[in-house]
């Protein structure tokens, strides 16, 4: 490191044209550097020359350290200048902020929401640990979040729950070591209620557990066989309705506080049920041919009053997965791929009133081990959000929002320290994008929350 010094040859020469001289001298010194070199520059002020002055590294190091040490002192005062009257500064969310590094001021957020392009307003890590996490899912009121902690190799899986998003740490649904919990589903119309599936290795049974109103999970008794894909619905008259798959057949039952209203009965040879908001229709993946060796499903809508099915996707030689309703109940989206494990997943959208399905996303990132509740609709139903291998940049995947009407894709970046993200979920109760996903920030997959400035 060296500094440039200027020396006047004669008294008074220092001031004359000093600035211009220094600029020229620096230009020369950029190309020719050496300790003690002197330069009499043509065109410089009379009697001046430049000389390289080496600066000891230790001095420079101390100076830089001093500046760095002073930065935190200066930053609050700079921020205070932009605070509104009565605004609190230094808000500690209690989470590790990734973007920005400290809680934004009102002025900064005003600027963010005025920005026309989609961008990250706030991003933070909600939870991390030694294990991989999967499939975050928000409750209907947007105030709760559940997700899965799994170690596939060790055949271990637990469900974790933020019964309130302000919880410091999530609670685990069970402490039983042997329990393998997965397929978490919130109950429609009852924000604190949910159901899930538990495999008990000791009994080699797969059962549905149900939790009404946030109470302790209860096993849904009296059933044998392999129960999966629960979907529950709470009516305003106090009746609970539950759909689940048992050994390839879709069953329905209903009860209230006094006891059973309807005994379990088979709806169809189907799986992955999903209630509509009004509780009158069910979206499901129906087995097309029982004789087929490969899983051969089609997406159907079951009218629960008439019992009739409407087939939404009839393409053969495809695998369909995780159908989900649009927010207005007029369309459904689902994952689809050709036969073969390595075939890429796509997202298709189909209107319930009979239109043909449209392809929205190519090479979509889909959890290979656990089935999600389906593509993530934004609350207005205009777009579906996902990650795609088609847009990956090395291990970084931007978010992709596909417009249902036009098929146009928007790519949204976020802090790229999170790699190989998956399992994107949207909080449907929030008018701005509040997105949860899992991604690597180190070895395990952790849970992140990102707020964008607008839809």
């Amino acid at each position: 490191m060296s500094l440039l010094r200027r020396f006047p040859r004669t008294p008074g020469a220092r001031k004359r044209g000093q600035v211009q001289f220094a600029r020229r001298a620096r230009r020369v010194l950029c190309t020719k550097r050496g300790k003690g070199d002197r330069y009499n520059l043509p065109g410089g002020p009379a009697g001046c020359y430049a000389q390289i002055v080496p600066v000891p590294f230790s001095v420079l190091f101390r100076f830089v350290c001093l500046l760095l040490a002073l930065l935190p002192l200066g930053a609050p005062s700079l921020r205070a200048a932009e605070l509104l009257e009565g605004e609190f500064d230094s808000i500690d969310l209690g989470r590790r902020l990734l973007e920005p590094s400290r809680f934004p001021t009102v002025a900064e957020l005003r600027e963010a929401v005025a920005r026309p392009e989609l961008s990250v307003a706030v991003m933070f890590k909600l939870f991390g640990g030694q294990d991989n996490h999967h499939l975050p899912v928000f409750s209907g009121d947007g105030l709760r979040l559940a997700f899965q902690r799994s170690d596939v190799a060790a055949k271990s899986s637990k469900l974790l729950l933020f019964a309130s998003l302000s919880q410091d740490e999530p609670t685990m649904l069970t402490d039983e070591e042997s329990a393998y919990d997965y397929m978490f589903r919130w109950t429609l119309n009852s924000p604190a209620s949910y159901s899930f599936v538990r495999i008990d290795p000791g009994r080699t049974a797969t059962r549905v557990f149900f939790t009404p109103g946030g109470k302790a999970p209860e096993e849904h008794k009296g059933k044998s066989g392999r129960h999966r894909f629960p979907a529950s619905y709470f009516r305003t008259d106090g009746i609970w309705r539950l759909l689940y798959e048992r050994d390839g057949r879709l069953l329905h039952e209903a009860w209230d506080d006094k006891g059973p209203i309807e005994q379990p009965f088979v709806l169809a040879q189907a799986t992955s049920p999903c209630w509509s908001d009004d509780g009158r229709r069910v979206l499901a993946a129906r087995i097309r041919s029982a004789e087929s060796r490969t899983p051969d499903y089609e997406i159907v809508v079951r009218d629960m009053r008439s019992g009739t099915d409407t087939v939404l996707s009839a393409a053969e030689d495809t695998v369909v997965r995780s159908p989900t309703w649009s927010p207005d109940g007029e369309a459904a989206a689902f994952y689809v791929r050709a036969l073969g494990e390595t075939a890429p997943w796509r997202i298709r959208v189909v209107r319930i009133d009979g239109g043909s399905s449209t392809l929205l996303g190519e090479d979509v990132v889909v959890n290979p081990n656990f089935e999600s509740q389906g593509p993530a609709w934004e609350p207005g139903g205009r777009r579906i959000w996902f990650f795609s291998h088609a847009h990956q940049r090395e291990a970084y995947y931007p978010m992709v929002a596909g417009e249902v009407a036009t098929g146009r894709l928007a790519v949204i970046d976020y802090p790229n320290r999170c790699t190989t993200p998956a399992d994107l979920a949207i909080n449907a109760a929030d008018p701005v994008p509040e997105i949860a996903f899992v991604a690597h920030d180190g070895l395990p997959k952790d849970l992140f929350i990102v707020f964008l400035n607008h839809y």
């Binding site: 509104l84 009257e85 009565g86 808000i91 969310l93 209690g94 009102v106 119309n189 008259d237 009004d278």
Partner: protein
């Protein structure tokens, strides 16, 4: 004759002769201005003399010659050097390796720009420290110490507060045919239960249970009768909560003229009041009705409440204000706010009255008396269409004349020229009572963003700060009603939190007072007093 030192300038090669007292010091060459280090010993004459600025000399520490004369022996400075010692200059290459004898010398030898820079940094530090000491996050918000310095006692309630004029017909005349009690003798110990009982088979109705008060929630020595919690219990005992999934409101087979009633459920306490008896309430056409049993008359309860807060027709504003302070101005029952609004209306503070009626309805949009009072306010300021809507809502929610408002509604209908029976359904999705101010798309985004992020704050106080900042945004945008609404949300975040809530709450209340003052709202003094009521 003093000993001479011969020095050759390393730059222009000029030979100089100096007195020995300059040995070991620096000086400028009079010919070219180059800074020279004058050797300790007299330079050897002739070709053996080493240049002062040579690399070898530069690498050696200076040594004082044993035979060099003391500086005091020199009487005259050399003619060819400046009379005074040259000012300290940045170290030349030849001198920079010379170790300083002391830290002071090291400082002296520092380059002038560096010294100036260091001085600047020091001044900056001082300014920053001063700013942090004097300034703060909220310069106008009185600090906790400042509040404590005032004695921690509530300021005396002004004479105006004590002598509130009687609440006139806005609430009372319409709602209650019963004359107010001349004595406050109706005050009785707070009941341990609501005094009413109810059997509701619906799970949705059970979720309306009020939260338990936190530690330090109440004010010592104050009756808990008809405080916020008691009012919530009364409310729950006389109605059924409207679920978010509701698509209709049907009571005993009669459908209320309200479309999209599920939108009402977004309010804090969306409870549909019902008269005494058994009722069948249906919320969706395809579902069974809910059986609801109401064990007591709300009319009687409401009239008792009115008697409690009125003496000789004067609204007990002090009692109401204290109850507001107890809840940090975060009510979950509309009764008290409706009374405060009536008190303001009696004093002809119509705008303040209207704000309170709106607040009551933002808590429970099915609270019929506030609809009727608001209709009167709107009619007074010639907002006839809105007055009609509020009258129809008052009528719709006065199920079975649960509030005893039938006669008053009838009169209002006549005043507005409305047909006395049939009415068009009103879409509940469009009902907004938070404020009358317009909100831009950017404001909407900011609200969603800050409310959304605040959910994740681990500490309740931090959540309150975030929501306070949202309110400050609206205050800055000259939207005081929205600001006050969000200030209350901030207070609600800390209402049941730990002891740290009081300091935050006082700051928020101070912000509310300032916002009211900026907007010319009469409630400013209420918030000034509440700061003293919010204490552990």
């Amino acid at each position: 004759m003093a000993a001479k030192i011969r020095v050759t300038c390393g730059d222009c090669k000029a030979e100089l002769q100096l007195e020995a007292r300059w040995a070991g010091k620096k000086g400028k060459c009079p010919n070219c201005g180059h800074v020279l280090l004058i050797p300790q010993q007299p330079a050897a004459p002739g070709p053996q003399q080493q240049p002062a600025a040579s690399a070898s000399a530069a690498s050696r520490p200076p040594e004082r010659a044993a035979d060099s004369p003391p500086a005091a022996a020199v009487r005259q400075p050399p003619a060819n050097l400046p009379a005074a010692a040259p000012p300290p200059l940045p170290a030349a290459p030849a001198t920079r390796t010379i170790p300083a004898s002391s830290p002071l010398d090291r400082v002296r030898k520092m380059p002038l720009p560096w010294l100036l820079g260091a001085a600047g940094v020091f001044v900056l530090i001082v300014i920053v420290l001063l700013f942090q000491t004097i300034g703060g996050n909220s310069p106008d918000v009185p600090s906790e110490q400042a509040v404590a310095g005032r004695g921690g006692e509530p300021p005396p309630v002004s004479a105006d507060d004590e002598n509130e004029k009687p609440a006139e017909a806005m609430g009372r005349g319409a709602a209650s045919p019963v004359e107010p009690s001349p004595q406050p003798s109706v005050r009785k110990p707070p009941p341990t239960t609501t005094g009413t009982s109810r059997e509701i088979s619906s799970g949705a109705a059970r979720s309306a249970e009020p939260p338990a008060p936190g530690p330090g929630q109440g004010l010592v020595g104050m009756s808990r009768q008809y405080d916020d919690l008691h009012c919530q219990q009364i409310q729950i005992g006389h109605g059924v909560r409207i679920p978010a999934a509701a698509s209709i409101l049907e009571v005993d087979g009669v459908r209320l003229p309200i479309d999209n009633p599920g939108a009402l459920a977004e309010s804090t306490a969306a409870i549909l009041f019902l008269p005494r008896g058994n009722h069948l309430v249906r919320f969706r056409t395809s579902e069974l009705p809910v059986e609801v049993t109401i064990a007591s008359d709300l009319v009687a309860e409401y009239q008792a409440m009115r008697r409690y807060f009125t003496i000789d027709g004067e609204v007990q504003m002090v009692e109401l204000l204290r109850r507001g302070g107890r809840t940090m101005d975060v009510h979950n029952a509309p009764f008290l706010l409706n009374f405060v609004g009536a008190g303001h209306a009696k004093e002809d503070r119509r705008k303040a009255a209207e704000r309170h009626f709106r607040r009551a309805l933002s808590i429970n949009p099915a609270f019929s008396p506030a609809h009727l009072n608001l209709a009167q306010c709107l009619l007074d300021r010639n907002a006839r269409d809105d007055a009609i809507r509020e009258t129809l809502l008052a009528d719709a929610f006065n199920v079975g004349n649960v509030f005893g408002l039938a006669e008053a509604i009838f009169q209002m209908r006549r005043k507005l020229g409305l047909p006395l029976e049939a009415s068009q359904p009103i879409d509940a999705a469009g009902l907004v009572y938070i404020g009358s101010e317009q909100i831009s798309e950017e404001d909407r985004r900011l609200v969603a963003l800050l409310e959304g992020i605040s959910k994740y704050a681990v500490a309740a106080e931090e959540r309150a700060k975030i929501l306070n900042n949202l309110a400050v945004h609206f205050d800055d945008r000259k939207k005081p009603e929205l600001a006050l609404h969000h200030f209350r949300e901030a207070l609600a975040a800390v209402k049941y939190s730990g002891t740290g809530r009081f300091a935050v709450a006082r700051q928020i209340l101070a912000n509310m007072s300032r916002a009211c003052r900026n907007a010319g709202f009469e409630e400013a003094k209420d918030y000034d007093q509440m700061q003293y009521l919010v204490t552990p």
